[in-house]
C-alpha cells in the first residue's frame, strides 16, 4: 500500500509539470494582446508599454515560463494584472468557497443518488424504477445555468424563500451562508446525483444477484438487512471511486453555477481572468485545480484500496 502511494505521488510531479506547460502554452494561443485589454479604453501607448514590460510580456515564451515556474515553486504565483492582488491570496480566498459548494453539492448528490439507486435496484422494472431513471435523465440533461436561473425566479423572486445572492463565509454567519448555498449546491449536485443513482443502481443489481445474497435471504434475514447490511457495502465500492472523480467534476461545473448565484469562488475567478487576459490568475488557478484533481484521483484509489478487502491482501 505504501509502495503504491509513493509510486502514485512520484508520477504526480511530471503530471503537474506537464499541466503547467500546457496551460502556459495554451494561453498564448488566445488572440488579443493582454496589455491592450488591461490598459483601458484610452489604450495609452505609455500604459501598454508599461504593462508589457512589468509583466514580462515582451520576453520570449520559454523565459516567461521559467520565470513563472521558478516563482511558483517558491509559492509565488504572481499577481492579478487587473487588481494587483497576489494570485495565491486569491486562491486562498476563493478555493474554500468552491470547495464548500462542491462538498454541499456532493452531499446532496449522495443523499439523493444513493437512496434512489437502492430503491431503483430493489424495485427494478417497476414504476418507481422508471421514475428514478427519468429523474436521472432529467438531472444529466438539464443545463446548470437554466436550472439555476429558473430556481432563482421561482424561489427568490416569486416565493422569497431564499436570497438570490449575498454569499457570506460560514464563519461569519452560517445560517446566511447555507441559505445562499442551498440552491447552487442543488443545481450542481443534481447532475451528479443522477450519475451516482445510475451507478448505485447497477452495482446494487449486480450484488443483489450474487449467491451470498441468496444465502442471506435463505437464512431468513429481513429484506432490509439483506439490502442495507450485506449488499450496499459491496455495491458502494465502485460508487466511492466514482464519487472522488465526480467531486473533481463538481469543481469545474461550479463555473457556471457560481456566475448564476454570484458565489465568489474559483470558477468565477477563472472565467473573468480568461476574458480579461489575466494570465497569472488563469495559470495559478488551473495549476491548483489540476493538482487538486490529481490528489482526488489518488484519494479515490486509496479509498478503493481500503474499501475492498480483496485488494488489501
Amino acid at each position: 500500500m505504501l509502495a503504491f502511494l509513493v509510486r502514485r505521488l512520484v508520477i504526480t510531479i511530471p503530471t503537474i509539470f506537464f499541466v503547467s506547460v500546457l496551460i502556459f502554452g495554451l494561453q498564448q494561443l488566445l488572440p488579443g494582446n493582454p496589455a491592450v485589454v488591461l490598459a483601458g479604453e484610452e489604450q495609452d501607448p505609455a500604459v501598454i508599454a508599461y504593462i508589457t514590460h512589468k509583466y514580462h510580456l515582451d520576453k520570449p515564451l520559454p523565459v516567461r515560463y521559467v520565470l513563472w515556474i521558478g516563482d511558483a515553486l517558491h509559492g509565488d504565483l504572481g499577481e492579478s494584472i487587473r487588481t494587483r492582488q497576489p494570485v495565491s491570496e486569491l486562491v486562498l480566498q476563493k478555493l474554500p468557497v468552491t470547495l464548500e459548494l462542491g462538498a454541499l453539492a456532493f452531499l446532496i448528490a449522495l443523499l439523493i443518488g444513493v437512496p434512489a439507486g437502492i430503491v431503483s435496484a430493489v424495485k427494478s422494472g417497476t414504476a418507481v424504477d422508471y421514475g428514478a431513471n427519468l429523474f436521472a435523465l432529467w438531472g444529466i440533461s438539464t443545463p446548470n445555468f437554466w436550472l439555476g436561473i429558473m430556481l432563482i425566479l421561482l424561489i427568490s423572486v416569486e416565493l422569497h424563500w431564499l436570497p438570490a445572492s449575498g454569499y457570506v463565509p460560514p464563519g461569519d454567519d452560517l445560517a446566511q451562508n447555507l441559505k445562499t448555498m442551498i440552491m447552487p449546491a442543488f443545481v450542481l449536485g443534481n447532475a451528479v446525483a443522477a450519475v451516482i443513482m445510475r451507478h448505485t443502481r447497477s452495482a446494487m443489481m449486480q450484488v443483489l444477484g450474487a449467491d451470498y445474497v441468496r444465502t442471506a435471504r435463505a437464512k431468513g434475514l429481513t429484506e432490509r438487512a439483506v439490502v442495507l447490511r450485506h449488499s450496499l457495502r459491496n455495491a458502494l465500492i465502485p460508487v466511492i471511486t466514482l464519487g472522488a472523480l465526480e467531486f473533481g467534476q463538481l469543481l469545474s461545473g461550479a463555473v457556471l453555477t457560481e456566475q448564476i448565484f454570484t458565489i465568489p469562488g474559483f470558477g468565477k475567478l477563472i472565467v473573468d481572468a480568461v476574458f480579461n487576459r489575466d494570465f497569472a490568475v488563469v495559470q495559478g488557478v488551473v495549476l491548483v485545480t489540476a493538482t487538486l484533481y490529481i490528489f482526488l484521483n489518488i484519494c479515490a484509489d486509496v479509498a478503493y484500496f481500503l474499501a475492498n478487502p480483496r485488494l488489501r491482501s
Binding site: 488579443g32 491592450v36 490598459a39 489604450q43 505609455a46 512589468k54 487587473r82 465568489p264
Partner: protein, 520 residues
C-alpha cells in the same frame, strides 16, 4: 460595580426591589435598543455589471470603478445633468486671458478620510502623481499640464504647455480625484487596496469579484447631504441574474438594466426605473487607411459608406433590438446633448438615394465584411443592419469576433468595418479627437483630414462654449460627408431600484452619485 453588588445583596437580604436595580435594568434596555439601532445601520446594496479594477484613480480604467469612486473620492470639479462643469473640491476657478493657465481656489475645511487636510500641496501632489506615476492612465488626459504652482494654502495654479479647454472636464473625472498624499506615500503600490480620498464614504473592505463595502465618512465636507450609513457594491455580471436579484430584494439598486427587462421592472409595484441618454455612442468604424485592408470598396469610397448609412433605418433598428429604449443617432453626441449639431438631424432611411450613390460609385452590389463583438446585443444589431443593407443591394458579411480579439484586430488594421462603441467623455473633444484626428490615439481607421485636425485643435484652444460649438459643427459637417464612423445610436443608462430609495438622479456619464440618497 461594587456599589451595585452591595445594593443587590441588600435587596436579597431585605426582599424589597430597590431603585438602583430598576435603573440598571432600564439602562441595559436602553443600551440594547441603541445597539440594535446601530446594528440596523442602513446598507444600500448596488449591483454592478462588472468587477471594478484597481481603486486608485491614477491607474483605474473601468467604468464601474468610477461608480465606486463616486462614493469614495470627490473631485476638483463635477458635472450637472446637462453637462455643465461645477466646482466640487474646488470653490472657484479662473482661466488666464491667454488660456495657458488656470487658477483654482479650493473649498475650505475639506479633510481626507485619514484626517489630513485637502490643501494646495495635496492638489499638487495628486496632479503630479497623475502625470508621473508609472502606468498612470491619467497622463494622456492632462498631458497639457506642464507644472503645478502652489499660490497659497488654498490656491493652486496649473500651467499648461498650450491652451487646452478640455482640461476642466478631465478634472471632473479620475484625473481630478484627490487622494490623501499621506496614504499614497505610505501605501505606495498597494494604495488601491486601501484607498483614502475625500469623498462621502470611506473604504471598508473588498472581496475580489464579489463586493466592495464603504461606510459614511463622518467628517465629509457635505455630510449634511449624506443619509445612508453603508454602501455595498456587488458585482453581478449576468444581466438576467442582476435583475432577478433586484426583484428578489437581494439588491436595492442596479445599473445597466437591459431594455428587455424594463417592462418587468416597471410593472413591479416595489421597483422604479430611471434612465438618461449616455454621452457615448455605438457606430461602425471604417478602415480608411490602416494597412492592406483599407483598400476595400467600403474604405476607399465615401459614397459606399453614405449608402450604407442611408440604408439603415436607425429608429427601426433601436425598436427591434432595444424595444425603442435607446436613441437613434447620427453623431458622437446624442440628440439631447448640448453638443448635438442640429444641422444634421438623425436621417430616416433612403433606399433610393443609397442605390443611386452605389451606382455613382460604380459598385451596385458591394460586399462589406463587418467585424462584430460576440455579445448577443451586438450580434442582433449586426443582423438587423445586414437585413436593411440588403435592401439597397449591399451584402454584409458578419464576422463575429470575441471582444478582446476584435480590439487587437482593429489595431492591426485587420478589418473593413468594425461595429464598436465609445463610452463617451464629458467634453466633446473626448468623443472626437482621439478618433478623427490624424494622430488620434484610437483612430485605428486612420482617417486623416488636415481640415478636421485644424478645427479640432482650434476647439481645444478656446474655452468659449459658443465658439467651440461652432467649430465642432464644422467638424460634423465634414464627418457627415466623409463618414469615417457611421454613428448608429446612443444608448441610455437604465437603472432599476427599490421604491424605498429616494433622491436618485441619473447623470449622462452613468455614474451613481450618492449625495441626497435616502433609503427607508
Amino acid at each position: 460595580m461594587t456599589g451595585a453588588r452591595e445594593t443587590t445583596s441588600r435587596t436579597r437580604q431585605t426582599g424589597r426591589t430597590t431603585m438602583p436595580r430598576a435603573r440598571l435594568f432600564v439602562m441595559a434596555a436602553a443600551l440594547t435598543a441603541l445597539l440594535a439601532g446601530a446594528a440596523q445601520a442602513k446598507t444600500l446594496r448596488i449591483g454592478l455589471a462588472e468587477d471594478p479594477d484597481l481603486l486608485d484613480p491614477a491607474v483605474a480604467r473601468t467604468f464601474v470603478g468610477r461608480i465606486v469612486f463616486a462614493s469614495l473620492c470627490d473631485k476638483l470639479f463635477d458635472i450637472t445633468p446637462d453637462l455643465k462643469i461645477v466646482p466640487q473640491l474646488a470653490a472657484s476657478y479662473q482661466w488666464a486671458p491667454d488660456n495657458k493657465s488656470v487658477t483654482i481656489k479650493l473649498r475650505q475645511g475639506v479633510l481626507f478620510q485619514d484626517g489630513t487636510p485637502l490643501n494646495a500641496e495635496a492638489v499638487k501632489f495628486n496632479i503630479e502623481r497623475d502625470l508621473n506615476l508609472k502606468g498612470s492612465n491619467r497622463k494622456s488626459e492632462i498631458s497639457a499640464v506642464k507644472g503645478v504652482e502652489v499660490i497659497d494654502d488654498q490656491t493652486v495654479k496649473l500651467d499648461l504647455s498650450s491652451p487646452f479647454s478640455p482640461l476642466l472636464a478631465a478634472l471632473t473625472d479620475r484625473a481630478g480625484m484627490m487622494v490623501s498624499p499621506k496614504a499614497a506615500k505610505a501605501e505606495g503600490e498597494n494604495f488601491a487596496a486601501h484607498p483614502v480620498c475625500a469623498g462621502p464614504y470611506k473604504f471598508v473592505e473588498r472581496v475580489a469579484q464579489d463586493h466592495i463595502t464603504v461606510e459614511k465618512f463622518d467628517k465629509y465636507w457635505n455630510k449634511g447631504h449624506i443619509f445612508i450609513d453603508r454602501i455595498e457594491y456587488r458585482t453581478i455580471v449576468d444581466a438576467a441574474v442582476r435583475v432577478a436579484n433586484l426583484q428578489a430584494g437581494s439588491l436595492d439598486f442596479m445599473e445597466r438594466l437591459q431594455p428587455s427587462d424594463v417592462a418587468a421592472v416597471r410593472n413591479n409595484p416595489n421597483l422604479e426605473v430611471a434612465s438618461i441618454p449616455e454621452i457615448g455612442y455605438i457606430g461602425i468604424t471604417a478602415n480608411i487607411g490602416n494597412g492592406a485592408r483599407a483598400a476595400s470598396i467600403f474604405g476607399k469610397d465615401p459614397r459606399v459608406r453614405q449608402a450604407l448609412s442611408l440604408a439603415i433605418d436607425r429608429k427601426a433598428l433601436v425598436q427591434a433590438v432595444y424595444n425603442g429604449e435607446y436613441l437613434p443617432g447620427d453623431q458622437p453626441f446624442s440628440p439631447v446633448s448640448p453638443w448635438f449639431d442640429k444641422n444634421f438631424p438623425v436621417p430616416g432611411p433612403d433606399i433610393a438615394k443609397a442605390k443611386q450613390l452605389l451606382k455613382e460609385a460604380g459598385h451596385s452590389n458591394p460586399t462589406i465584411e463587418l467585424m462584430v463583438p460576440t455579445t448577443s446585443d451586438d450580434q442582433q444589431v449586426a443582423q438587423v443592419i445586414q437585413a436593411m443593407a440588403q435592401q439597397a443591394g449591399i451584402t454584409i458579411k458578419i464576422k463575429a469576433v470575441e471582444f478582446a480579439t476584435s480590439l487587437d484586430r482593429e489595431q492591426q488594421g485587420d478589418f473593413e468595418a468594425y461595429q464598436i462603441g465609445w463610452s463617451g467623455r464629458v467634453d466633446p473633444d473626448g468623443n472626437l479627437y482621439t478618433f478623427l484626428a490624424c494622430k488620434g490615439n484610437l483612430n485605428y481607421g486612420r482617417y486623416c483630414n488636415p481640415e478636421v485636425d485644424k478645427l479640432l485643435d482650434q476647439a481645444r484652444e478656446t474655452s468659449d462654449t459658443a465658439a467651440r460649438k461652432k467649430l465642432y459643427d464644422e467638424v460634423d459637417a465634414i464627418a457627415q460627408r466623409d463618414l469615417p464612423i457611421i454613428y448608429l445610436y446612443n444608448r441610455k443608462w437604465i437603472y432599476g431600484y427599490t421604491k424605498k430609495l429616494t433622491g436618485f438622479k441619473p447623470y449622462p456619464d452613468g455614474l451613481v452619485r450618492v449625495v441626497d440618497l435616502k433609503l427607508q
